[in-house]
């Protein structure tokens, strides 16, 4: 199903853009690849397999860099056409068996990533509340304590600042801890350790000590979880020097980002979303890693660049369906890397469409959208035909009542209206 969709979209795009000069050479590659293998190139797989030694050096793609070699180019592009997993198309049972890859839910994809890394590197361990035999509140670490023991999958007492600090200390002495916040909001208690220690100690020690931790957890607005459990911490963390931030949105990129984050020598904060854990998608059987600094091209288009991440990606794609019916052609990019921004991908898109709409779940003040707006204005002002529009949540604590909560989050209809206004 996935392959057919890819071929269909590839040929549709080819015919549509046959005249336009598009730098997207991936389209041709995709069409040929779609017939050959599933979305991951064999070259990328080889890159992973060859780095089977304990300290791998996977090619890291910087946001402004041209791809270093042809191999990487293809693996980069492979991630670009990701399909919209939420609109669950029912698969033929007959065709399902013959397709490569396996179906997983997002939390299972995260677990697969964790498990593969724990298998590969004995220094990887998990700290968090109820991650051990309970398996984690969202079942991300289910079964791992039985497999790897209590020492590597550690149930901590309730003291976020302290178990994050513990992870910093363990990381400085050689372990690679993955810290789970039961809910991202609880990591506000760990802010001191994350900001002053995690982010800074590599720098202030003159490079002597590295802190290869991963700090992850579900955040964002859920279904009536109340204000304290609906935090968007990316706004608060984005200023901390020394950390990287990424947000996953599909099972494919969740597993890839988890693995990349664990392998990274820098502290990485991985933002998951409470409502996305049960997304289903077919992901490759082979091992793969996704770059921490790259954005994902969800839907190429011509008229407007829509930048989004995490759950809002699905609202945007829903709006995109309506927009396509109305004759618009939005380009949707899932920025994935919240710190640093992938200005290379974003810039190329703006140079093509000249209009930008940012859709985020953060509050209006000081959110990721605010920073992204500033960064785009600074770098691509000449290419913009209109001011950047940023749709975000209001500056209010998330209310409990369902009807109220719904309107604090950006809805597809707002996105449609914004695009229509932008493209007038």
């Amino acid at each position: 199903m996935y392959q057919w969709r890819m071929i269909r979209s590839a040929t549709a795009i080819l015919s549509f853009f046959s005249k336009a000069s598009i730098a997207y050479t991936f389209v041709e590659t995709e069409a040929s690849m779609a017939a050959a293998s599933f979305g991951v190139s064999s070259a990328a797989v080889q890159a992973v397999k060859s780095s089977a030694s304990p300290l791998p050096s996977l090619p890291v793609i910087r946001s402004e860099a041209r791809p270093i070699s042809g191999r990487i180019n293809r693996s980069r592009n492979a991630g670009k056409i990701a399909t919209h997993a939420v609109a669950a198309q029912t698969e033929n049972p007959a065709s399902a068996a013959s397709k490569p890859g396996h179906e997983v839910l997002l939390f299972e994809a995260l677990r697969e990533g964790l498990e593969e890394e724990m298998e590969r590197d004995p220094r990887v361990c998990i700290f968090g509340e109820d991650v051990g035999h309970y398996g984690g509140s969202y079942k991300v670490s289910k079964g791992l304590a039985d497999k790897y023991g209590d020492l590597r999958v550690l149930d901590t007492p309730i003291a976020e600042n302290s178990f994050t600090g513990m992870a910093v200390g363990a990381a400085m002495t050689g372990l690679r801890p993955v810290v789970e916040g039961m809910n991202m909001g609880f990591l506000l208690l760990a802010f001191n350790q994350i900001s002053d220690n995690c982010g800074m100690l590599h720098y202030t020690s003159g490079g002597q000590f590295t802190i290869p931790t991963v700090i992850r957890g579900p955040g964002g607005v859920g279904r009536q979880l109340g204000a304290e459990h609906s935090q968007r911490l990316e706004s608060y963390f984005q200023s901390i020097p020394g950390i990287q931030m990424v947000a996953c949105s599909t099972p494919y990129n969740a597993k890839g980002l988890m693995k990349a984050a664990i392998r990274s020598e820098n502290p990485v904060v991985l933002f998951e979303h409470v409502l996305l854990y049960n997304l289903k998608e077919r992901i490759p059987d082979e091992e793969y890693v996704v770059s921490l600094e790259e954005a994902e091209m969800v839907r190429p288009g011509e008229h407007v660049t829509i930048l989004t991440y995490s759950r809002m990606r699905y609202h945007v794609m829903q709006a995109a369906k309506t927009l396509v019916n109305k004759g618009y052609d939005p380009e949707v990019i899932d920025i994935r890397s919240l710190k640093p921004f992938d200005l290379y991908t974003i810039g190329n898109s703006i140079k093509k469409t000249h209009k930008v709409l940012i859709v985020e779940e953060c509050m209006r003040t000081g959110g990721i959208g605010a920073s992204l707006t500033a960064a785009i204005n600074e770098n691509f002002n000449d290419y913009l035909d209109a001011p950047i529009v940023c749709l975000s949540s209001q500056d209010v604590p998330t209310p409990y009542a369902g009807t109220l909560e719904e309107v604090t989050v950006v809805q597809p209809s707002q996105i449609v209206t914004a695009v229509e206004q932008l493209c007038r």
Partner: protein, 478 residues
């Protein structure tokens, strides 16, 4: 006390077996536990906290499910197997007193005139003893001269360890080079580092100390941290961060990694009386106990947290009593007595590593100097008090007297040592002062493993600015 220790000895193998093993947990024991005991009500509103019953099932893993019920029945109204263990009942409505009747006694080996008061201490040979003394004198000299340097405006800031030389050197001497040191970090006013002595003991050179304080190219922190925020991976001395007590959970984490690797080493972390009020101290103590991490938690109770006396910091009998509250063995020692500190740390290290448990040491002492160069302590405490402690309870003098009684030291050697130390420190400062400051690029390096594009852009822009306005940026000749 003995009873408590014997009881904990019995419990320990159970915990060790269950927690430290990498084996599977038997699901049947969990199932039987749940079927017998009523389910726990969800605590703190997040999720049903299943851990206590899980531990109960593991601890009584060898006891069949039926026996649990029979224990409860036969015990009658004497005791009940609550979650967490068997507890006896009492008919008396009596509260435990807030303070013990007598304050916990303080372990001391030498008196003020250097005479031995006991034979219950860890013997040290002449070489180590003389080395300890020399390093204590060096520490004193370093402190005095660097303090003066700050007053002369040559460095911006400094913290002395006046009055706490014995703690520094004696505890360092009792550890091995493989043990990780997490020196104190203090609060808002970056200070501390009353643990420079530990670094000196481990071979961190005077020149390196001076370089760090001056923040020049020789500094291994590359000019990025305040004076006295030393750090050296080579010496297993973890870089000081200014935040108070954040290093205590770090130490627990590092001890945990040592335990996972099964290494013959422990972690030590130092903090002051003020640091024990923080949330991090509490949680780290708790973690250390629950995780059975081989960490020595060393509290330097010097009576003052900047201007806050201990009576305003806590109302317990010092820090030592808190050990039992967390299930951690603890001891109170005379911090001005080098032999007592050495013995305590030596024993604590053995316990920590062989039994994989945390140990709390409270060293009572006095902060004979100011909190830092930004402080004038005569404002909040009487000068006579400071003078008395400095004269009568000076740890260096006391140790010297003991050395002289042993026949291992003399007055002439002392003068010679002090003169030489003074000269070495002055030389080191002069060299450090003349050395260049780190170049511009160091601002952007080591934020990440490789600089991302935004930092490269910012560096480029900064270099352009400096080049354009060369006159305003005389330090950086591009």
């Amino acid at each position: 006390m003995a009873l408590y220790l014997s009881k904990s000895g019995k419990l320990l193998p159970h915990f060790k077996q269950k927690i430290c093993s990498l084996g599977m947990i038997s699901l049947s024991s969990i199932a039987s536990c749940f079927s017998q005991n009523p389910p726990l009500s969800p605590e703190h509103g997040k999720t049903p906290y299943a851990a206590p019953s899980l531990f109960a099932s593991r601890r009584f893993g060898s006891v069949k499910a039926e026996n649990l019920a029979s224990i409860n029945n036969t015990a009658d109204s004497q005791a009940l197997n609550f979650p967490g263990g068997m507890v006896k009942f009492t008919p008396e409505l009596k509260f435990i007193s807030d303070l013990p009747e007598e304050r916990i006694n303080c372990y001391r080996v030498l008196d003020e005139s250097g005479h031995l008061l006991t034979s219950d201490f860890v013997e040290i040979d002449k070489d180590i003893a003389v080395k300890m003394y020399k390093e204590m004198v060096m520490l004193q000299t370093v402190d005095t001269i660097f303090y003066e340097a700050q007053r002369q405006g040559r460095i911006s800031f400094y913290v002395t360890a006046a009055g706490e030389e014995a703690i520094n050197i004696a505890s360092a001497a009792a550890l091995s080079m493989d043990d990780f040191v997490f020196p104190q970090v203090k609060s808002i006013r970056p200070v501390q580092y009353r643990e420079a002595g530990v670094l000196l003991w481990r071979g961190f050179g005077l020149q390196d100390l001076a370089n760090q304080c001056f923040g020049n190219v020789g500094d291994n922190c590359k000019g990025r941290q305040m004076p006295a925020h030393y750090g050296s991976k080579k010496h297993n001395y973890f870089t000081v961060a200014s935040t108070v007590a954040t290093q205590i959970p770090h130490a627990v984490g590092a001890a945990y990694s040592l335990k996972m690797e099964g290494r013959d080493a422990c972690t030590i972390t130092y903090f002051g009386d003020g640091g024990t009020s923080t949330g991090d101290f509490h949680a780290a103590m708790n973690f250390a106990a629950v995780l059975e991490a081989p960490v020595i938690l060393f509290c330097r109770n010097n009576g003052w947290a900047i201007s806050t006396p201990v009576s305003d910091q806590f109302r317990s009998d010092g820090i030592v009593v808190r050990g039992q509250a967390y299930g951690i063995r603890s001891i109170r020692v005379d911090g001005n007595d080098a032999l007592a500190v050495f013995s305590a740390v030596h024993m604590a290290r053995k316990m920590a590593i062989s039994e994989s448990r945390p140990v709390l040491i409270e060293a009572l002492t006095y902060r004979a100097g100011h909190h830092s160069t930004s402080d004038d302590s005569s404002k909040y405490r009487p000068i006579e008090e400071i003078e008395w402690w400095r004269a009568v309870q000076d740890p260096v003098a006391r140790f010297r007297k003991w050395l002289e009684i042993q026949g291992w030291w003399s007055c002439e050697s002392d003068t010679e040592l002090r003169d030489r130390a003074r000269q070495e420190v002055l030389d080191a400062i002069q060299v450090a002062e003349k050395m260049e400051k780190p170049d511009l690029g160091e601002i952007f390096r080591d934020v990440y493993d490789f600089p991302p594009s935004n930092l490269s852009d910012q560096e480029k822009s900064l270099r352009q600015t400096v080049q354009r306005h060369q006159r305003d940026y005389t330090h950086f000749q591009l």
